[in-house]
Symmetry: C2
Subunit: 253 residues, 2 copies
């Protein structure tokens, strides 16, 4: 198979009671999704699960079986509710060990902050066979096991870990997207959108309605891995909008 033809996919497991209680608004779905697009990897599914080992194991096993890559966020800190390492080790059937390099990083990081203690040492624990993902923000590294990546839950720390992984993962042609929008009720152009999409097999069209300044409108996003196909589809979509009597703005509004 030619690498550029393969569609690479990833699953994401968001781990944490704080998301399911509504206390914390998740920012990692959008952040991981956008980063994956640039790597040429499609985010195929996200599951948000509580801090319960069997639920994490189940989600990790389901999404790693179905995708090329698996990412998790959350549950790799120092406290008792941080159980991602244990759950992933269980899912993979491997032991948990203290990673010597992670321990050294944490010893250095906490040298002038009271040194290592039981909680801090938890952050050096990894499933056997793991490598580390650098964390330039706060010492405790992320964890990589082949195509599985365990990252922090705090979004700016996650961002640093993603940054460290940029360009490291094999992917396909990046999905590219272009947007056109206007004060256009999607219900007035729904049939046209469907016809245009059907005429352009290599493209998908998404329709995203909004209400703004007391008026309804929509942005239409054409996605493809093929720039030529995308341009042709977008041209036909714009013609369709013009024929239906609507003003539109490239790039969306």
């Amino acid at each position: 198979m030619i690498s550029s033809d393969k569609i690479w996919t990833a699953g994401l497991v968001i781990i944490g009671d704080e998301i399911l209680s509504g206390r914390t608004h998740d920012k990692n779905i959008a952040q991981v999704a956008s980063w994956l697009q640039v790597q040429g990897i499609r985010l195929a599914e996200v599951r948000v699960v509580p801090d319960v080992e069997e639920r994490i194991v189940e989600a990790v096993n389901a999404l790693r079986a179905a995708n090329d890559y698996l990412f998790t966020t959350g549950g790799i800190g120092p406290t008792h509710d941080d159980i991602t390492v244990d759950a992933v080790a269980k899912a993979l059937g491997v032991e948990v060990m203290v990673h010597p390099e992670a321990r050294a990083i944490l010893e250095k990081y906490y040298a002038d902050k009271g040194g290592l203690n039981e909680g801090r040492l938890r952050m050096a624990r990894v499933p056997e066979g793991a490598e580390l993902i650098p964390n330039r923000m706060s010492g405790a590294p992320g964890i990589r096991l082949g195509n599985i990546f365990l990252m922090a839950g705090v979004p700016h720390i996650t961002a640093g870990m993603l940054d460290a992984l940029t360009g490291e993962l094999e992917g396909g042609a990046p999905l590219i997207a272009e947007t056109v929008g206007g004060f256009i009720p999607e219900s007035e152009v729904a049939v046209m959108l469907c016809k245009v999409e059907q005429a352009h097999e290599a493209c998908q069209i998404g329709s995203y309605p909004f209400f703004r300044q007391g008026r309804v409108g929509s942005n239409f996003v054409v996605r493809s891995t093929d720039k030529g196909a995308l341009d042709a589809c977008m041209a036909e979509l714009c013609s369709g909008l013009a024929e239906a009597g609507f003003d539109y703005t490239m790039g969306g509004i």
Copy 2:
């Protein structure tokens, strides 16, 4: 079983390529989660899936089997990528029909906006046996089939539908939560947190670190359905923080 002892749970399926591409930042997880807490229902799992029928069917069937209630957001609009109704009907093994009341609502709503057309009529389609969830924002109603609720993806429309359902669902004792926080590195109190949680079986303690004004800190959230148990746990947690030499603020910082 005494109703107040049962823990009622819900699953949530977020449907939409726009979330998985990172284009749209999800706001419905937090909104649905917070609303459910007030109803005495615990959000047990969220899955985000693309606009692909078999993927929606799979997620809907998995989460409705595992929970008392199932909610979906997204994919009930007028365009070709709005396939939630068809997917849920398939998951339940029922036909899709045009709901007469939904059709009447839409006819009235669009009377001075060009009337019904093929796209708009799509929004009157429901799985057979469904009732409607009022939508005071934009005409097209949500859909209820027993313990399954299909809601809009646009957050303020979802909010209106949740509002219409408030008090309609049987739940248990609401989960209550109290927070204490401070410029306290969670890694310095991790062992104490674990001991306090173990001593208070009816409570869970979540630890949520942050970085602010160049300093690390944490908020600790105690959750329980029992106010007395929660108060006792919180008192011991605060003593533990004081003994460790930290200032703390009730309500969190």
